[in-house]
């Protein structure tokens, strides 16, 4: 990329030249440059390394060379080397130790900027062994005369705690940190508070301990420190429980000025403190509370003039606030009216709040607004607006008629989705106000043809069944729907079944045949268990006791109310304490989504994957159930209540595709062989390292599994562990399980002697349990894709050359069908994660798409693949070419597996 001179203020940077693609031998060249005596060459070389790192190339092999450059007086170079260290020290823990000396030296440099830089970087080197060396410099830094060093050291304690909590306690760092709250410098106080709060949160211990004197210090620092510091302090104040109402009032008084801060984060955190304390003040102080309520409204409204992102955060929080204390914003409904050019996500949130604030005072104005929105362009927004009109009707009895009027007007527009949405909400209005507005049924019946969505159809059918006696041709209408019974969505089928039965109970003479037919369809033709069960229940009811059937089917239904998206009180209280956190965005308690990467018991060997523990959140998906309305109504309205209408912000989308290499564990050793431990293994690659993930399930080994040694037999890939020791931390007790990561490297000396024929994927493993001295053996098949190197991208011409040169006899063919997706872009993206690189794509004959990929193992074997897709056919033809024929089938299997998952 050519470097471009920028106009204006900047004329210095030309770093883009460092991004030029690396050619062969580039690494070697870089190495030379890093050792150059010329300072500029050296700096440039390090910049190139950083550039490669940024775009995701693996430059960890240059570790020692880069590290050599750290001995310099040039801060710029030092910073770059430190940046490199932070990135790669974890994968090169042994080498990282070499940097320790430099840190220790820099930590006592006369220049405070360098001292701080050393302390800051040291903490980011995530290698346990380095921690002991870190303590002395850190201890000095915490007492440094320079505030800049102290504030950096304060954060460093939090970093160290994450890595070695015991060490932090042993060295008394927590106490020193606590002392820093009384520091004379506000930035130091702020970072001290941040570090302590974090440690308190991760450890679950009350290390923050706000005493009366600490409280005064915090309140004093609040006036002086940076905006971020104010946020840290306010957030920790929110967690503090004042002794009595008077203290609460006193703190609130000191906090309210923050509502005027230009930084919205400060404002939101101040709001949180005030709201949390208002809870504690109880009802005794009505005057104070009224006063505070008045003070809170203007800053909240002002937040809506910020950037859309901030507006979104504010709106999600306001949603909670209006549920808890509706009085704060009861007169401000107009500020939530949507502007034409608001982003959709802002409009959607505003709409939610409008519904929460709607009252008989403002309903006319709101209806005019909603009607206006219903003519806009965005379909989702329009539907939500229509649905909102219905929700207003359900909420405000005296306005219901006006709402229905607006809905009827909207139905006249004949816009397909408007009509369907209207029908869905009118059903809810009918449920809320039975036997009051049936006069509009005629209008609805005129629009039957428009309905093509299951929910709208089901709603309409419910209405027909419920009011069968008022609709002259109810049986005819149902009969029309019945014609396509088998093609309908299950929800529509269920409604059809119920509606027909209702119709029959009300008018048995004319509908005998029909009900028979629908019962047959439901019980005999359908393979949907819900439908069959309901069919049988009706059948039995009708055949044994029609009067009982009437009681059950035509019985009074419980009254519904608009509690869509309304939070259950306990949850709401929790969330009010979580204002200005992600919790308030997701409307879920923090436990529901904070899944810490640590606490998995993975020791810090190699780089731990991030993709475990995913199951944790699935459980919470069910919590949506708290929003469910009337559970009584099983037979009738099952699952199509008003709350299904919401667009359902799918923040937790359950089917998120993997963006990392998936890890598939296979059981490789059972407890009989290993003295009571089941072992599961998987291979994958993270940051260019081949990792073997092991899971130990301690079934019956009375000694907790903690210290193991691993060895591999010679194998077809030359794999061996970098470190033979495996430590499970915490030890795996009987009945629990723990994981460990073993980093593997490939070298020639570990290669098994070449056998004729296909290579075996088998890797034979021996593990010794140091506690019991028992050794057990097993074989864990290796998947070769874990050792595809990131440097496997071939030049197009080289690819064509190689392709031609490989003898046709060395081709391997296979076909994979039933793929989850034949989206080539998706496959290409997925393959890239596994270092299978896209070369070219071309259109073949008869709608064929041919895609070429190249890959190279870390041991230098090249593989070329041609994948052929055909439009409309869910299958893929693989053709693989390689000189290393004995490994070809392994690569073929790997590609097949990747395509399948």
């Amino acid at each position: 990329m050519p470097s471009i001179n920028l106009p204006g203020k900047n004329d210095g940077g030309h770093d883009s030249r460092f991004f030029t693609t690396q050619k062969k031998g580039e690494m070697h060249e870089l190495k030379m440059e890093l050792h150059s005596t010329d300072r500029n060459t050296k700096v440039d070389a390090v910049k190139k390394v950083i550039a490669s790192m940024t775009v995701g190339k693996d430059v960890s092999s240059l570790f020692t060379d880069v590290l050599n450059c750290v001995q310099t007086g040039n801060i710029e170079l030092k910073k770059l080397v430190y940046l490199y260290l932070i990135n790669y020290s974890k994968s090169q823990p042994e080498l990282a130790l070499l940097a320790v000396n430099t840190f220790v030296k820099d930590a006592s440099d006369p220049n405070p900027l360098i001292r701080a830089l050393a302390v800051r970087t040291m903490g980011c080197i995530r290698v346990e062994k380095i921690t002991e060396y870190l303590c002395d410099p850190l201890s000095r830094a915490l007492r440094d005369e320079d505030p800049y060093v102290r504030k950096t050291a304060a954060v460093c304690v939090a970093k160290l705690y994450d890595l070695a909590p015991a060490l932090v306690q042993e060295r008394g760092f927590l106490e020193i940190l606590h002392d820093l709250i009384s520091d004379s410098n506000p930035s130091v106080v702020a970072n001290g508070v941040a570090a302590l709060s974090e440690i308190a949160e991760t450890s679950g211990k009350d290390v923050m301990k706000i005493s009366a004197s600490v409280l005064q210090k915090l309140l004093a620092a609040l006036n002086e420190c940076t905006e971020w510091g104010q946020v840290f302090i306010l957030d920790s104040l929110a967690k503090y429980a004042p002794a009595d109402a008077r203290e609460a009032e006193g703190i609130i008084e000191r906090v309210t000025p923050r509502l005027q801060h230009a930084n919205s984060a400060v404002v939101m955190s101040a709001v949180k403190v005030i709201l949390s304390y208002m809870e504690l003040m109880g009802s005794a102080n009505t005057d104070t509370i009224r006063n505070l309520t008045r003070k809170l409204a203007p800053p909240l409204v002002t937040l809506l003039n910020s950037e859309p992102e901030i507006q979104y955060v504010a709106l999600r929080n306001i949603n909670l606030i209006v549920q808890k204390r509706p009085s704060i914003l009861e007169n401000e409904i107009r500020v939530f009216f949507c502007k034409y050019n608001d982003p959709i996500y802002v409009k959607m949130e505003k709409l939610e709040i409008i519904i929460k604030l709607v009252s008989e005072k403002n309903i006319d104005q709101v209806l005019l607004e909603l009607k206006e929105y219903a003519t806009e362009v965005d379909v989702d927004f329009v539907r939500k607006s229509v649905s909102a009109i219905g929700r207003c009707a359900v909420k405000l009895e005296r306005a219901a008629e006006r709402c229905i009027g607006v809905l009827l007007e909207l139905i006249q527009t004949k816009v397909n989705y408007v009509v369907q949405e209207s029908v869905i909400v009118i059903k809810d209005i009918f449920r809320r106000y039975p036997n009051r507005y049936e006069s509009i049924i005629a209008t609805l019946c005129d629009n039957l043809d428009t309905l093509d969505e299951p929910q709208a159809k089901a709603s309409m059918i419910w209405i027909i069944g419920e009011y069968a006696e008022r609709i002259d041709n109810a049986d005819e209408l149902l009969d029309n729907f019945l014609e396509t019974f088998e093609e309908e969505d299950p929800s529509v089928q269920l409604q059809l079944l119920t509606a027909t039965v209702k119709c029959f109970l009300k008018n048995p003479e004319d509908t005998q045949d029909m009900v028979q037919r629908v019962l047959d369809l439901a019980t005999e033709e359908s393979d949907n268990p819900d439908l069959r069960d309901r069919g049988f229940i009706y059948w039995r009811l009708l055949s044994t006791d029609p009067e009982a059937a009437k009681l059950v089917v035509l019985g009074d239904k419980p009254v519904i109310e608009d509690d869509t998206f309304k939070l259950e009180p306990n949850l709401l209280n929790t969330l009010i304490g979580q204002i200005a956190t992600l919790s308030s965005i997701y409307h879920k308690p923090p436990e529901a989504f904070v899944v810490r990467a640590s606490g998995r018991g993975v020791m810090h060997l190699g780089v731990g994957g991030d993709d475990m523990g995913e199951d944790d959140e699935e459980d919470y998906e069910d919590d949506e159930g708290i929003e469910q309305e009337d559970p009584v109504d099983l037979l009738d309205m099952g699952g199509m209540g008003i709350n299904d209408n919401g667009a359902g912000d799918d923040l937790f989308g359950s089917s998120t595709p993997q963006a990392e290499q998936a890890v598939r564990f296979v059981k490789v050793c059972s407890e009989e062989k290993s003295g009571g431990i089941d072992v599961l293994a998987a291979y994958h690659q993270v940051n260019g390292n081949v990792l073997m993930e092991l899971e130990f399930q301690n079934k019956s080994c009375s000694v907790p599994v903690s210290n193991l040694a691993i060895q591999l037999n010679k194998n077809a890939f030359g794999l061996s562990p970098v470190n033979q020791q495996i430590i499970c931390n915490p030890p795996v007790q009987v009945g629990s399980s723990g994981t460990a990561t073993v980093q593997l490297v490939a070298n020639r000396s570990m290669l098994a002697p070449v056998q004729p024929g296909p290579a075996s994927p088998q890797v034979q493993v021996a593990i010794k349990n140091m506690a019991t001295s028992q050794v057990f053996y097993f074989a864990a098949n290796f998947n070769i894709d874990a050792m595809f190197s990131s440097g496997g991208q071939m030049d197009r011409n080289a690819f064509i050359e190689t392709w031609k040169n490989i003898d046709d006899g060395k081709e391997i063919y296979s076909t994979v069908s039933d793929l989850p997706s034949t989206d080539i872009d998706g496959i290409q993206a997925k393959f890239e994660l596994y270092n299978i690189f896209f070369i070219a794509r071309r259109q073949g004959m008869d709608g064929q798409e041919v895609v070429y990929f190249s890959m190279k193992t870390m041991t230098g074997m090249d593989f070329l693949a041609e994948l052929t897709f055909k439009a409309g056919v869910n299958a893929c033809k693989i053709c693989l070419k390689t000189e290393n024929t004995s490994y070809g089938h392994l690569v073929k299997n790997a590609i097949e597996n990747l395509l399948r998952f």
């Binding site: 920028l6 883009s16 505030p147 971020w228 000025p257 992102e309 904070v594 923040l651 990392e660």
Partner: protein, 426 residues
Amino acid sequence: MISMILVLNHKGDVMISRQYRDDVSRAAADSFRLQVIAAKETGTQAPVKRIENCSFLYTRHLNMYFVAITRANVNPALVFEYLFQKITILKAYLGEEFDDNSIRNNMTLIYELMDETMDYGYPQNCAVDVLRLYINLGNIRQQDEPDASELTSQITGAIDWRREGIRHKRNEVYIDVLESINLLMSSQGDILRMEVTAQVQMNTKLTGMPECKFGLNDKLVIEKEASSNRKPGVEIDDCTFHRCVRLGKFDADRTITFIPPDGEFELMRYRVTDNINLPFKIIPAVREMQDQNRVSINLKAISTYNTRLFATHVVIKIPVPKNTAKTKIKTSFGRAKYEPEQSAIIWRIKKFPGKAECMIGADIDLMPTTRNKAWVRPPINVDFQVPMFTSSGVNVRFLRVYDKSGYNTNRWVRYITKAGGYQIRI
């Protein structure tokens, strides 16, 4: 706290990636590219997204994405404010319109800024003036020791926005009061929403560490001052201040006191909703003649401000249906043109005098369409600037500057009212 900050280009290629914690891996960039950028979610879906236990908070600058990734229960407003400030800092260093190229070209500088403005995911000092002192296009000024410690006390001090020892030959302060008026009017002419949001911009060129006191005709202040023959003040709904302003003092007695940063900064913002003087009255009449495939629009714009004043850059955007074939436009003043790419008639008036009335009439012929879909009738949008006019009635009463050396300060005040969202539904 924040685990990683990414800067991606519009295709999702990583331009800058800074990891602050190791609980998020590089593959996060791929998740974001696949699930947000490729899914074309930006702009319609919420700017907070959860993918595989990580929360992604993002914003855009031109076609670049600034993404913060975290696993913790962070303060989202803090994260966004940090990202915005990050962008402000980059603008200051690389120019207002910095793009992917300038990011690439200044990679090392940006990494340095990343390192300095955030530690372990906690934002640190982001004041551009202070950062400039020791981060300078990748070239650190070689400091001798006393300089460095002075610098650090500057970075961490209570007044981290101003350095000591500033000298100016002439001591001057420029104050700009910029009011934006937001109006939403229904097609019946009812005002649905009306408010003024304003910024007070200052440009200070002052010597030393001056103590400033600033006063507006705030109703609450004026009522307190006994002199009753004054004009009543303006009721200010809410205001927010630059962090140099002592908020405690303001909360106690509504006086605005501060030691200003050197150069340009935004002192405060305020919001007013009562007694607003609308500078323009717009009266539209739009008739759709379905059967004839025609629309006729008549619109009257009346200026209400003093005859000595005038508005500039008045642009009235009148939406027309997408299938417009031909327009016939007549105006009494200014120039109007149908601009198909905007689906609107744009009426421009360079200079609109006070107490004046202008008219525009347009007959629009439509192309017949196969689908009989109704026109969504977007609102009319009005843009203008009225110098030396505040629609809220706010004015600056005083700015007092105290410094030890006791110099005199020259002060200049300007007012401008412009249109924020000035929309009239039709």
